[in-house]
């Protein structure tokens, strides 16, 4: 079936099998491999993307549901057009050593951006609770939590996420 949606600011029309998962659409059909798949039970959160502004696990979303909607992936978070400017949340992860192997990172960053969108001034406990659906095996979470808190402050300061 043919679906149309906005992907990272650009309209896309694709012909897909109706049973296609959004994670597979992104990775296999559209060759956007920034969204990762780390489990098969929707537990790990590596595949989190923003769908109409909400953080969703793209392994649980069927592609036909995208029709008419807006999808943002990790590739679309920083400034477009080949610029190396990072989103304040990405910058905060870099500054606070909030990533090691990088595999869970796209899902962590997308979850964090959505979290701050809903709660502009999260506490440490809010952040820890908000990351409950994302597993990281490398960092012990401490620097991820610090990154999200710093990223939230930076997003507020720059007006991103309003």
């Amino acid at each position: 079936m043919i679906i149309s949606f906005t992907l990272n600011g650009r309209s896309r029309t694709v012909d897909i099998e109706p049973a296609t998962l959004v994670a597979d659409l992104l990775r296999e059909t559209l060759h956007m491999t920034g969204t990762h798949v780390g489990c098969d039970t929707s537990q790990c959160g590596a595949c989190v993307v923003l769908f109409n502004g909400e953080a969703v696990k793209s392994c649980t979303l069927l592609a036909p549901m995208l029709d008419g909607g807006t999808l943002t992936t990790i590739e679309g978070l920083s400034a477009p057009g080949g610029s190396n400017a990072l989103h304040p949340m990405q910058q905060a992860f870099h500054q606070n050593h909030g990533l090691q192997c990088g595999f869970c990172t796209p899902g962590m960053v997308m979850t964090a951006v959505a979290m701050v969108g809903k709660n502009p001034a999260p506490t440490e406990a809010d952040v820890r609770h908000g990351l409950e659906g994302n597993i990281c095996r490398c960092t012990g979470y401490q620097n991820i939590v610090a990154s999200v808190l710093a990223g939230a402050a930076a997003m507020n300061a720059t007006g991103i996420g309003d």
Binding site: N84, H94, Q142
Partner: protein, 795 residues
């Protein structure tokens, strides 16, 4: 303006940008033209004879390219998966080493054992075809626990391995220990289980292979921590193809923790299939598949006894362990519970006599191999739990008992009774630092506050040492290693003076692209951003042993340091020529070659330019070019260690244990990048906390099914399980590595399980509870509390 960022600085990581923007290149991201997809059919039984495999229905389905089985492996004359270590038993005989075929031949020995590989044009077709393969199993009884596996009458995995006993191994002076025990004023005893763990790096394992029929070259992309070793083992011993015609690429790898440092059958099967099918073949593990095929860790059952004199001085330690090997010997399998376990039993103490017996046992479970810490967390757990038990029984304060037995700083180098000689350390300094940082004096007040809220609070200590920086090749060879354990580095200075480093270690989260660039920036005076680190590709990098055992900085960094020094030596020769001075008069500092006592200088860039445009150059005595290589074989292990202090609160009604505070003061030697070291500690500690409180691989002992086979059943630590940790270093310098480094990748995982469980036991000690097995789940704790509270039934 120069931007030299050297040792001790904390630049943000070079590798971050690609990961933060979705531009990483993991194996599952790799696509090749005309690629096919492979699916493994794995045994659903713990133990069974394969009566027959019907391929025909699958081969008739659309898109199916091949169905490969153990018979095809045998027909092609391929080898089995090699074990990298050959240990010897108490009888002097070699361990039992049954073959580990890449696809099962005749029998399956664990749930997840690979039976067949199906290749098709699409992944969906491959899955459909895998469903259509008919496999006739004759199911046999399974045995999954070590105690059961060595009992008479237990199911036998191999006809020629009686009692499932791979090896009965020992270390230490049995007679001296027996004498010491007879003189003891007190003997502390402990039976414990070190729970089986599943490493679960967030990136599932994957492999893609292609074969070029024109050149006879194979390329394998694999989620590996050591691509050169995979190439060597696979080409020489398994697939029997020329090593130079095999390229193994391990690009960005999403975490390893040991799980990806073995040569897996999947790598060999995918590579072999690529040639047979004549098209690239891609396989990516599902997480569920990873649970039953990634090598597991730990799984010990141990009886330990510590003999003390009346003052609490340790006289001798006796340890008997049954270690689970799973269904086959994995790459490092038998080495982990023996050579990486026994030699650590001295801990940071002056225990004069130690004897350790380890029975290495086959069971119908996933093969067990190295997982972060590998043998050393198990040893630390035995020692540090036993010290607490002894303190409690003798009425001596736990910290005081540790102080009485610690190796004093001035006694280093210290020869232990179990093979290893610690070169440096200051356990007392780490302990005192830990006590201060953890605000131990404030604990009684915090405990009282918990009690007022109806909760129990406990404090736990772990003062520990590890042996890492694997490893001195000759020493390892005597212990049974079948390979070398050196590392290699090439420093390639380009004509511009910018630098590419080719290093034999791998980087899968440790930040080596940053740390190694700092070393080069400091050594050569080159700007930090002008140094790139290349790894993980056997066609680009000279032979190297990869990343595991906290070895990358210790051994690889030493090779890099040595190669950088060689560049400076050659640079001085070139500078001497250009500056018309004697080589002995040339000094080099911060990227400038100068003639001592003069203002005549040449920059590193000018020297590099001269080396590649050798018009004014001593060609008669010196080759052009500026590229140096070094191999470094360490002369000893390194011995990081430290003091970890955990504080827990327990809710009696639910049995929930909450980690409230965690403090670590570690001696990791010279710190290159403190930000990265702290991050390594965080991650390592949380993996140990996971073992202590959450994680457990559980098998059904009748069917051999893995019951904890997904993230729904196997509890991974999450952000809301944990507090912020306090991490400090108290470093003494390693005396034999070039930069004084000791390594920091595993310390967190080694020190933490004992600290956490000691805290849990402390919180429950008023109930008469003297030990808690891991993981300290709410269910286990609640039962212990209930049983303790229950009045004893009349006997």
């Amino acid at each position: 303006m120069s931007n030299i960022i050297g040792i001790g600085a904390a630049p943000r990581r070079k590798e971050d940008f690609r990961f933060l923007t979705g531009r990483g290149n993991y194996v599952a991201d790799v696509k090749r033209a005309d690629m096919t997809f492979g699916v493994f059919i794995r045994s659903p039984h713990g133990h069974a004879v394969i009566r027959g495999i019907g391929k025909a229905p699958a081969l008739a389905l659309p898109g199916v390219q091949a169905v490969l089985t153990g018979d095809d492996v045998a027909a092609d004359g391929l080898g089995s998966l090699p074990c990298g270590w050959g240990i010897h038993g108490t009888d002097g005989l070699p361990m039992k080493e049954p073959p580990f075929p890449m696809l099962a031949q005749g029998k399956v020995r664990f749930v997840g054992d690979m039976v067949a590989f199906v290749v098709a044009d699409t992944l969906e077709q491959a899955h459909a075809a895998a469903e259509a393969v008919v496999i006739d199993y004759d199911v046999l009884p399974s045995v999954v626990g070590v105690l059961e596996a060595v009992r008479p009458g237990a199911p036998q995995l191999f006809d020629d391995v009686p009692n499932n006993l791979c090896c009965d191994w020992e270390l230490g002076d049995k007679a001296a220990v027996a004498i010491a025990f007879r003189k003891a004023a007190h003997i502390a005893r402990l039976s414990l289980v070190n729970n089986r763990l599943i490493g679960n790096p967030m990136e599932p394992r994957a492999a893609i292979a292609e074969y070029n029929a024109g050149t006879g070259h194979y390329t394998l992309w694999s989620t590996s921590q050591f691509p050169h070793v995979v190439r060597f083992l696979m080409s020489a011993l398994v697939l029997k193809i020329p090593e130079q015609k095999m390229r193994v690429v391990a690009p960005d790898v999403g975490g390893g923790f040991g799980v990806k440092q073995f040569h897996y059958g999947e790598e060999a099967v995918v590579t072999w299939a690529a040639k047979r099918v004549g098209r690239p073949v891609k396989w990516v593990a599902d997480r569920s598949e990873g649970f039953v095929s990634d090598r597991h860790g730990r799984d010990h059952v141990t009886e330990a006894e510590l003999a003390l004199d009346q003052h609490g001085k340790f006289l001798a330690l006796k340890v008997a362990t049954l270690a689970n090997m799973g269904g086959y010997l994995s790459t490092f399998g038998p080495n982990i519970p023996t050579n990486l376990y026994g030699p650590l039993l001295s801990g940071v103490y002056t225990t004069p006599a130690i004897y350790c017996n380890v029975k290495v046992v086959f069971t119908n479970t996933v093969p067990v191999d190295a997982y972060r810490g590998a043998g050393r967390p198990e040893a630390t757990f035995v020692v540090e739990r036993l010290v607490d038990v002894a303190a409690k029984e003798m009425g001596i304060d736990r910290v005081e008992l540790r102080r009485r037995n610690m190796i004093p700083k001035e006694s280093y180098p210290y020869q232990t009774p179990v093979l290893v000689e610690y070169d440096s350390g200051d356990p007392m300094g780490c302990l005192e630092g830990g006590l201060a940082a953890a605000d131990v004096t404030g604990f009684p007040e915090r405990k009282a506050a918990s009690e007022r809220a109806g909760k129990f609070r406990g404090l736990g200590f772990s003062t520990y040492v590890e042996a890492c920086g694997l490893a001195p090749s000759r020493f390892a060879g005597r212990l049974g290693a079948r390979g070398g354990l050196y590392e290699s580095a090439t420093v390639r200075v380009h004509p511009t003076g910018q630098v590419t480093v080719l290093i034999g270690t791998h980087n899968h989260g440790q930040g080596h692209e940053t740390t190694f660039a700092q070393i080069v920036s400091e050594k050569l005076g080159v700007d930090f951003e002008n140094v790139d680190i290349v790894f993980g590709d056997t066609d680009r990098v000279q032979f190297g042993m990869g990343t595991y055992g906290s070895r990358s900085l210790v051994v690889g960094g030493a090779a890099l340091s040595k190669a950088s020094d060689k560049v400076v030596v050659k640079g001085k020769k070139i500078a001497a020529h250009l500056l018309e001075a004697s080589e002995q008069d040339i000094q080099f500092e911060a990227g400038i070659f100068s003639v001592a006592g003069t203002d005549r200088t040449k920059s590193f860039q000018e020297i590099a330019g001269a080396a590649y445009v050798p018009h004014n150059y001593p060609l008669e005595v010196l080759e052009p070019g500026l590229e140096e290589q070094a191999y470094y074989d360490p002369i000893n292990f390194t011995y990081p260690g430290g003091c970890h202090i955990a504080e827990v609160e327990i809710e009696p009604e639910t049995g929930v244990v909450t980690l409230e505070r965690y403090t670590a003061v570690d001696d990791v030697g010279t710190v290159i990048n403190p930000m990265i070291v702290e991050g390594q500690l965080h991650g390592g500690i949380v993996q140990g906390v996971g073992q202590a409180l959450y994680e457990n691989a559980v098998y059904d002992d009748v069917s051999g099914q893995l019951l904890s086979g997904s993230f729904m059943d196997y509890c991974m630590p999450r952000a809301d399980h944990l507090p912020n940790m306090t991490i400090k270093t108290h470093s003494t310098l390693c005396t034999h590595t070039p930069m004084g480094v000791k390594g920091c990748g595993e310390v967190g995982t080694i020190g933490s399980p004992a600290a956490v469980i000691n805290a849990v036991v402390d919180a429950l000690s008023h109930l008469g509870i003297h030990h808690v097995d891991m993981p300290a789940t709410p269910n286990r704790i609640w039962r212990l509390i209930q049983n303790a509270a229950m009045p004893r039934a009349a006997e």
